[in-house]
């Protein structure tokens, strides 16, 4: 966990929202299964579930990284000296940070282009760029977490 309080709070909020979306997906799936069985499938349920899944995945990115939840191969961990190990870790965090910053910017651009094209979703015919926007925000929360871990890693080196 980070020592940054505000980032921890952000992670908590993000996780809470993602959890709410997960429960909504659970109930929507059950409801849709039942109503399909009775011959009245919920219109656009699959599409809506897909959008919910996107929000869930996006918002859970940062909190998961905060707890080192993205699996890594730590086989060679003891192989390097402390200094080299720290350096490699900082480098890897920086690489990830830059990459996800690019991804985040590109997601915002995608949302903008969907907005400009006035593109509607396939089944429900609703605007859906806000969902893309939320995923982008989730990616930026991941970037913040990576940044915090990078700083902590640098400070630990002193």
């Amino acid at each position: 966990m980070h020592r940054l309080k505000w980032l921890n709070s952000l992670n908590k909020v993000s996780l809470f929202l993602a959890g709410s979306v997960l429960l909504f997906m659970l109930f929507l799936t059950v409801f849709n299964t039942l109503s399909t069985f009775l011959g009245y499938p919920v219109k656009g349920a699959f599409e809506l579930l897909g959008f919910c899944g996107a929000i869930l995945s996006g918002l859970a990115l940062g909190p998961t990284q905060a707890q080192d939840g993205h699996i890594r191969v730590t086989l060679l961990d003891g192989f390097w000296g402390k200094g080299t190990g720290k350096f490699l870790q900082a480098l890897s965090l920086l690489l990830a940070l830059v990459f996800f910053a690019v991804l985040g910017i590109k997601l915002l651009e995608l949302a903008r282009s969907l907005y400009e094209f006035e593109e509607l979703s396939q089944t429900l015919n609703i605007i859906f760029y806000p969902f893309v926007l939320i995923v982008g925000v989730g990616v930026f929360l991941l970037v913040l977490n990576l940044g915090a871990q990078f700083l902590i890693c640098l400070r630990g080196k002193e």
Binding site: L49, G53, L56, Q67, A96, E109
Partner: protein
């Protein structure tokens, strides 16, 4: 530089980044895939590909199956289903020689029938089974190994995250894959028990007897396993009969699990919150790996490396069996040094077309690599299940746990051989689904 060699360098670089920089596997695949794609096409194209793929993967309806199935397993865990499963198995088998090991393996198999991941099965079963075996002075060599290998049933017995991912990556029906691995999963359970029997016969000091249990108590304990049977029957017959899609099966399963837990007052608010939180973290991790694999796959596809590799191997004129042998070897060696699921996701785009071009049934191949992959979860030096069990049994040295695991490795090899000799084992379930 030719496209082919760029592809090869990409793979080398990927391994370096994974092992040396220790980047999370999903991040590493995404980053190398992005850089490679940018190098071959251009970076403008690569950047817009990133966002498009991210949105497409995250918003795919097919992938909502992952959080829903994980939620089902987590709710069951926090509601204590695994504890009750163990209790049943223990009451029935406890007093025979090595009975607690048999009970552990059976309880693992039972929990695997409602939980799709072997790490979750390992984490949950070690909290229940290890203290019990310690109480009865079982040799840690046997107790820790039995939990670690028993938990690998998590992905062989359906539901299974590995089969879901193979299904999604290769466009196969998840229902068919689930049913196809059903019999091999049962068979592996029986082989584990046979191995336990032989071990205890050879070395009786490994496993003393537990206490005697009356028949009345035995039957009473069966009630504790009803939930698991109900959930498994519901999910698997629902899939078989085509009542619902895999995602719906996961959703309905999670919902019923929640309902049972609440009605029987077994899930606390805290437990519920933690099951949701765990689900989010595990699915986020899997989604990132999938995203990374897809981006890396886009890079590989554009270098045509998988295609040319398949051509090359086909040109070697080796027998199909030889090639399967090499593929199994790569998975076993690769599974030894890295996380098995990540290895699987990286290699599927390369090996899957190869296997099908050799005439192997896609369903059979999926089951085959699932078994080989799950073996990788216990083998040293990187065996995620072993690590989990070791973290729960801190007093047992790692080397001793791995030593115990070696006693069980022949079980997997036996199942792999059986699968090669009798492919029907994996095709039986497929027929069951298609007959309808």
């Amino acid at each position: 530089m030719s496209l082919f060699s760029i592809g090869l360098w990409g793979i080398v670089l990927l391994l370096l980044v994974i092992f040396v920089l220790r980047l999370p596997v999903g991040f590493a695949m995404a980053i190398i895939g992005y850089l490679g794609f940018g190098l071959v096409v251009n970076f403008k194209a690569a950047s817009s590909m990133l966002a498009d793929e991210c949105w497409k993967v995250f918003s795919s309806y097919g992938l909502t199956v992952i959080p829903l199935f994980i939620l089902m397993g987590q709710i069951c865990f926090y509601a204590g289903v695994n504890r009750r499963l163990y209790d049943t198995a223990y009451k029935w088998l406890g007093q025979v020689k090595g009975g607690l090991v048999h009970a552990t393996i059976l309880a693992c198999a039972g929990f695997s029938a409602i939980c799709g991941s072997n790490t979750a099965t390992a984490a949950t079963m070690s909290t229940v089974a290890l203290p019990e075996m310690k109480k009865f002075n079982y040799d840690p060599l046997l107790s820790t190994a039995s939990v670690a290998v028993g938990a690998t049933l998590g992905v062989v017995i359906p539901p299974s995250v590995v089969l879901i991912i193979i299904g999604l990556q290769t466009g196969q029906s998840i229902a068919v894959l689930f049913w196809a691995s059903f019999f091999p999963g049962i068979l592996l359970t029986l082989i584990f028990m046979l191995a336990t029997f032989i071990l205890c016969w050879l070395k009786p000091e490994l496993a003393p007897c537990g206490s005697k249990v009356s028949w009345k108590e035995k039957f009473k304990s069966l009630r504790g396993s009803v939930e698991m049977v109900v959930l498994f029957a519901l999910v698997m017959t629902g899939l078989l009969a085509g009542f619902f899609t895999p995602s719906q099966a996961g959703g309905v399963g999670a919902f019923i699990a929640l309902l049972i837990a609440l009605l029987r007052k077994r899930l606390s608010w805290e437990g519920f919150k933690r099951s949701v939180e765990d689900t989010l973290k595990v699915s986020s991790m899997i989604m990132v790996i999938l995203l990374g694999a897809i981006i890396f796959g886009r890079f590989l596809a554009i270098t045509r490396l998988p295609y040319e590799l398949a051509q090359f191997v086909a040109g070697l004129k080796l027998s199909g069996g030889m090639i399967m042998f090499f593929i199994a070897l790569i998975y076993i060696l690769g599974g030894a040094v890295m996380d098995a699921l990540a290895l699987l996701i990286i290699t599927i785009p390369i090996f899957f077309p190869l296997a099908t071009s050799l005439g192997y049934s896609p369903v059979w191949f999926a089951v085959f690599i699932t078994v080989v992959t799950t073996l990788g979860a216990v083998t040293p030096p990187v065996g995620i299940n072993t690590f989990i069990v070791a973290s729960m049994a801190k007093e047992v040295p790692m080397t001793r746990i791995f030593k115990g695991i070696f006693l069980f490795i022949p079980c997997y090899l036996l199942l792999i051989l059986l699968l090669i000799w009798f492919p029907e084992l994996a095709l039986l379930g497929e027929k069951l689904v298609l007959v309808r």
